[in-house]
């Protein structure tokens, strides 16, 4: 077993580290810190943030990959993540086909030939469930959850008391409640997942709880990494257009008008297909299916980024136009400060609120877009777990009678909670950071 970070792992982690570094820097800058405290002063924002962090934790957990070197293991040579290890029991042992949440037998009847040689249709029992002791296991699972939640909350309180609480108290109570509920719920599901398929299984008997957890990373990656592409493009182009004006402005405006005048789906579809061709021509780039899917995800992110920077760029340009009329920029010019320094020192810092708002706003949109793109056939790799892929399968399952509702349900719940949290949080961010809301 050796550490084997995928490209997206590295990017996600560096984004995390970058974010944290920025956070530390912000702690020093009092104005920024105050704004953040203001954001968290709303209980809704606090709850959303805890939920988002919970999702992020899973994404991060799923972003530390190891390569299995042991040739005696059945999955030797494959690349697995920490989450896979934790969910080993649900990753490797799968059923034959559909089963409902907490079911003990398959959902559909199959043809069996019994000992007498008579063929009949019957519900086969599931291979990897142990239904006995439901309540004890539940109690145990919840107990562990409660203990864990209390411990962490206690530690946090200690840390706060230790002088880290500044200014007006934040609504920690809501945060603790959310945290406790999530921890208990998850630990219960986790413990139960050893004995049941808590969210049922899909067409080939794959565990949906595992699939839903794996999908978190895909959703989070698309939501976050896309900004890595969008941001530099939009920032550099938007600020230069707004600051230099003249032909630079004309050129950049031309660029983004051209890009945005092409219908978005077509551009993305074309981009994704192009990248697929490139990948097909170089099959040697990827050792495993996981890596291949990973690169495809990365490309998707890049394409989404390249096609979606225009909106932000336009906003940044407009704001830069406004800021560069401000007296403090005039003052800097009167000091003979050169253009690059003015942009870096005066303009970019004053754009942060727009950037932040657009990042949090785009996040949920991107998570939702993934599903639609998968439907059109230009989404993530089909071997990759993602909500889009789950929904697409579920679409067909809804036509069954009786319905196979659980895979749609799992995808719906996991996605809905994330997007809702993101939307509520972005709402708050927008409310606090947007200067128009000051009045």
């Amino acid at each position: 077993m050796s550490l084997h970070l995928l490209l997206t792992d590295i990017l996600l982690w560096s984004l995390m580290i970058g974010g944290m570094a920025w956070g530390v820097y912000m702690r020093k800058a009092k104005a920024g810190l105050e704004a953040w405290r203001d954001i968290f002063r709303s209980p809704v924002a606090m709850v959303s943030a805890v939920i988002l962090l919970f999702y992020l934790a899973f994404a991060l957990l799923d972003s530390v990959h190891f390569k299995v070197n042991d040739p005696h293991r059945s999955d030797s040579g494959s690349v697995i993540s920490l989450l896979d290890m934790a969910m080993q029991h649900r990753r490797t042992f799968s059923e034959r086909t559909y089963s409902a949440p907490f079911a003990t037998q398959e959902y559909t009847r199959s043809v069996v030939v019994d000992k007498k040689g008579v063929t009949h249709q019957s519900f086969l029992p599931l291979k990897h469930v142990s239904p006995e002791g439901f309540w004890q296991k539940s109690m145990w699972g919840m107990g562990v959850g409660i203990a864990l939640a209390l411990l962490l909350i206690f530690l946090h309180r200690r840390w706060l008391r230790g002088g880290h609480e500044r200014g007006e108290p934040l609504p920690w109570r809501s945060a603790y409640m959310t945290f406790a509920i999530l921890t208990v719920l998850f630990s219960w599901l986790y413990v139960m997942s050893f004995s049941f398929h808590v969210l049922g299984t899909d067409k080939v008997g794959g565990d949906l709880f595992y699939a839903s957890l794996k999908s978190i990373r895909t959703g989070m990656l698309i939501g976050t990494l896309t900004t890595l592409v969008t941001l530099p493009l939009a920032l550099v182009l938007g600020v230069s257009a707004g600051y230099f004006r003249g032909w630079v402005d004309d050129l950049i405006q031309y660029l983004y008008t051209t890009l945005s005048s092409i219908p978005g789906v077509l551009l993305i579809a074309a981009g994704v297909l192009t990248m697929q061709v490139m990948m097909d021509q170089h099959p040697d780039w990827f050792a495993t299916t996981v890596e291949r899917a990973d690169i495809r995800l990365l490309f998707l992110v890049v394409i989404l980024g390249v096609t979606s920077w225009t909106g932000l760029c336009r906003m940044l340009r407009a704001e830069t136009l406004r800021i560069s009329q401000m007296d403090y920029v005039t003052a800097a010019k009167a000091f003979g400060v050169n253009s690059w320094q003015i942009m870096w020192r005066h303009i970019v810092p004053n754009l942060t609120h727009i950037i932040l708002i657009s990042i949090v706003l785009d996040f949920s949109g991107l998570v939702l877009a993934e599903a639609v793109l998968s439907y059109v056939g230009v989404g993530v790799d089909p071997t990759m777990y993602s909500w889009g892929n789950m929904i697409n399968q579920a679409r067909l399952e809804m036509a069954r009678d009786p319905m196979v509702w659980w895979s749609l349900f799992s995808a719906f719940i996991f996605m809905f909670v994330l997007v809702l949290a993101a939307n509520l949080f972005s709402d708050r961010v927008q409310h606090v950071l947007d200067p128009r809301n000051v009045s």
Binding site: P71, S74, S76, G77, S78, R96, T97, T108, R109, S110, V111, V113, V118, T119, H120, Q121, D202, K203, V204, G206, L273, Q276, V277, D280, P283, T288, T289, R292, S374, G377, G379, D381, P382, T383, S386, G388, N389, M390, N392, Q393, R395, L396, E397, M398, A399, R400, D401, P402
Partner: protein, 713 residues
């Protein structure tokens, strides 16, 4: 507030008005349409080409099969499939000629040409069509459409005058001549070139002429040219000469490529103005079949109507009375249904008369009886739905590229590797999970219903199965592992890299629906400890890789063109290997076994005799041993039909079966009424809730208006 309420009222009334008169709310057709003698059917892909010279896909043939009439057809009732004359007086007579054109015996080695004599029936007439309207001098009445007239029409049926005429032998010759024109892109031209005498040179010559005419914007009238091997010997007689012996040629004569094309229609449709309106033979066929295309909107709907000039034909094996005269149905409405779910639901609601069963709907529809036979579920039976099933003359298989250094080759170890892999591909599970039992695990290249297919123990693939107690049992995993070890990969470990053997599987499976399938694939290989790397690409890239032999393992399938074993065995014939033929060949696994190839040459032009059967069995055995394919699945087709839809027989080869089928519209209307009564309650609840909310808001505003500032705090 008042406005909001008014809008609400308006919406509710609109709903009522738009529905109230139409009977059922969810009726997808016009009012009263389902009470007529009309068949409602679907198509899932918009047909691109309805021109018989070009069209080569099942969905297109399903439509033009009802419109065009080639000389022969398959008998609707008889099994195994049997050809019978359609527009001919009798089956074509074949004479054999030697190099000099003198008659000789069929079995003589001097046979250089075969000549088919076709004698047309006298009562075959084309449908009514504007192209047949003529001036007194014989020129087309609508031959030069004026722009004013053109701008007022959107289909040929907008032209007021129509006429019909008898089908003549020259029309059949005309069709073959059209086939020769390159610009018409006939898919069978290159297949037919080596057979039909003179077609090759004619094709080159006529294609050039066609190009010149096209550049000069002049119409191409093929009547002026003749092919050497296609001779019109009389008003209703025709001779087609082909090189050598080719008994399968009769099957070709049952295909639409050989259906008659009237020169009037060809010239009529070559007018620029019509082309610009998408009116051409590709969209508006002219045929002599039981139906004509009354509406051609390939993006939405196609409507067939009865051709009043259709010749006399009776249901096979029944009394020749007016009651049994074909066709039975007056009108057919095909609706585009891209998605399987709406289509299935509409079938259940009675709006489609027949439907396939998607895997999603399978549980709902089908039950497996105690004997292992499939039957309809009770809910379906209660609805009066019937199931019609048959094994199709097709095969889905997983092929190894025999040119590949790892899985290919004819050495013992390579063979064993392939055999081991073949054993662990649990096709029965595949059929159960992904095909809902709608298939049969294949034993060799020839599917049931085709000459050369063997049932039972004798037909069992001994490489993969054992015959135990009268049943096929897949060989054990242990046995497969042993084979693998013998092949040089103990436990799947590649001795060279000391790692697990890594094989590459190419697929076009890029959609999310395919994830499960790919997981299953990997699982099969993992049983042996082999790592399967899936390389999913789009269809282009996939095809291209196959053509260049740049694949290792891949899945493909084949549908029979005609019910002859040659049409399957040639998939393994070395002369057809893709890499050798620059991609034109059909043998995509590049299998080349000299014994097999020699036998194929022999079998190819034989009649269906016991000798032929014996040789075919030998060929199959050779292929089973070499295992160039994992013999996958012979798919079964299941069709569900409502009880008011009768005389439906499955027929995998025939396309013109619509004329035999029958509908009882009264029963259909009754059932549709029964099954589709709208549920009113939720509508009332929702409407009530909206009104209540509006009222509450109004009260709220009023209250606010009455409040003083002191109360506002």
């Amino acid at each position: 507030m008042r406005i909001v309420r008014a809008v609400n009222h308006y919406i509710v009334w609109c709903l009522f008005l738009s529905f109230a008169y139409g009977g059922l709310w969810n009726m997808p057709y016009e009012k009263g349409e389902s009470a007529t003698n009309t068949l409602f059917s679907t198509f899932s892909v918009a047909p691109k080409h309805l021109d018989p010279v070009r069209s080569y896909s099942a969905n297109e043939w399903a439509i033009i099969g009802q419109i065009y009439e080639p000389p022969l057809q398959y008998n609707y009732v008889d099994r195994p499939y049997r050809l019978e004359p359609l527009t001919l007086m009798r089956m074509p007579e074949v004479t054999y000629l030697d190099e000099n054109g003198t008659l000789c015996d069929e079995n003589s080695t001097r046979v250089a040409y075969s000549r088919y004599h076709l004698q047309l029936r006298p009562d075959i007439r084309y449908q009514d069509h504007p192209a047949f309207v003529k001036h007194s001098d014989g020129t087309l009445y609508y031959g030069k459409l004026q722009p004013s007239l053109l701008s007022s029409i959107s289909s040929v049926w907008d032209l007021p005058k129509r006429a019909s005429r008898e089908v003549r032998a020259e029309d059949y010759a005309y069709a073959i001549k059209r086939m020769a024109v390159r610009a018409y892109h006939s898919p069978v031209l290159d297949t037919m070139r080596p057979y039909i005498v003179g077609l090759d040179s004619f094709s080159k010559q006529i294609s050039q002429i066609a190009q010149i005419k096209h550049q000069a914007h002049r119409p191409l009238d093929l009547r002026a040219y003749t092919i050497e091997g296609v001779k019109v010997t009389g008003k209703r007689s025709l001779e087609i000469t082909i090189h050598g012996k080719y008994p399968q040629f009769l099957y070709w004569l049952a295909m639409n490529f050989f259906a008659p094309i009237p020169w009037e229609a060809d010239l009529f449709y070559q007018q620029e103005g019509l082309r610009a309106k998408n009116i051409s033979l590709d969209t508006s066929p002219v045929g002599s079949g039981p139906y004509y295309l009354a509406l051609s909107d390939p993006n939405r709907k196609m409507i067939l109507k009865r051709n009043r000039h259709f010749h006399t034909e009776y249901y096979p094996g029944m009394e020749k009375t007016e009651l049994n005269r074909l066709p039975f149905i007056d009108r057919v409405v095909y609706t585009l249904e891209k998605e399987s779910i709406p289509m299935w639901n509409k079938f259940l609601q009675g709006y489609y008369d027949a439907s396939g069963i998607s895997s999603e709907a399978f549980d709902q529809a089908v039950e497996i009886g105690s004997s292992g036979s499939m039957g309809l579920s009770d809910t379906m039976k209660r609805k009066g739905i019937r199931m019609i099933g048959s094994v199709e003359p097709s095969i889905f298989y997983m092929a190894f590229n025999m040119e590949d250094p790892v899985v290919g080759g004819y050495s013992e170890s390579a063979k064993k590797l392939r055999q081991a892999i073949s054993i662990v591909q649990d096709q029965e599970e595949y059929i159960s999970i992904f095909m809902n039992e709608r298939g049969v695990a294949a034993q060799g290249p020839i599917p049931p219903g085709i000459f050369g297919y063997v049932l039972g123990e004798a037909g069992t693939n001994r490489v993969v199965y054992d015959w135990v107690n009268g049943k096929r049992v897949r060989k054990s995993l242990a046995y497969a592992k042993r084979l693998l070890a013998e092949a040089g990969y103990p436990d799947g470990i590649d001795p060279q890299t000391k790692k697990r053997l890594k094989l590459y599987y190419d697929t076009t499976a890029t959609g999310p629906d395919d994830r499960a399938l790919m997981d299953w694939r990997r699982k099969q290989f993992a049983k042996l400890g082999i790592d399967l790397v899936i390389r999913a690409t789009d269809y282009n890239r996939f095809q291209d890789k196959v053509r260049r032999g740049k694949v290792q393992i891949f899945s493909w399938g084949w549908n029979a063109d005609y019910p002859d074993p040659e049409n399957f065995l040639f998939l393994l014939y070395g002369g057809n290997a893709v890499v050798d033929t620059g991609g034109a060949g059909i043998n995509s696994s590049n299998y080349k076994n000299p014994v097999f190839d020699r036998l194929f040459e022999e079998v190819k032009s034989m009649e269906n005799t016991p000798q032929r059967a014996k040789k075919i069995v030998r060929m199959v055995h050779i292929a089973q041993e070499d295992a160039p394919w994992v013999w996958g699945v012979y798919p079964k087709s299941l069709v569900l039909v409502h009880h008011w839809f009768t005389q439906v027989l499955p027929h995998a080869m025939a396309n013109n079966t619509l004329k035999y089928k029958c509908i009882d519209p009264k029963e259909r209307v009754a059932k549709q009424q029964m099954w589709n009564q709208p549920v009113y309650l939720p509508l009332l609840i929702i409407g009530g809730a909206i009104l209540l909310l509006g009222w509450w808001l109004y009260k709220l505003y009023e209250k606010r208006q009455r409040r003083t500032i002191r109360e506002r705090r």
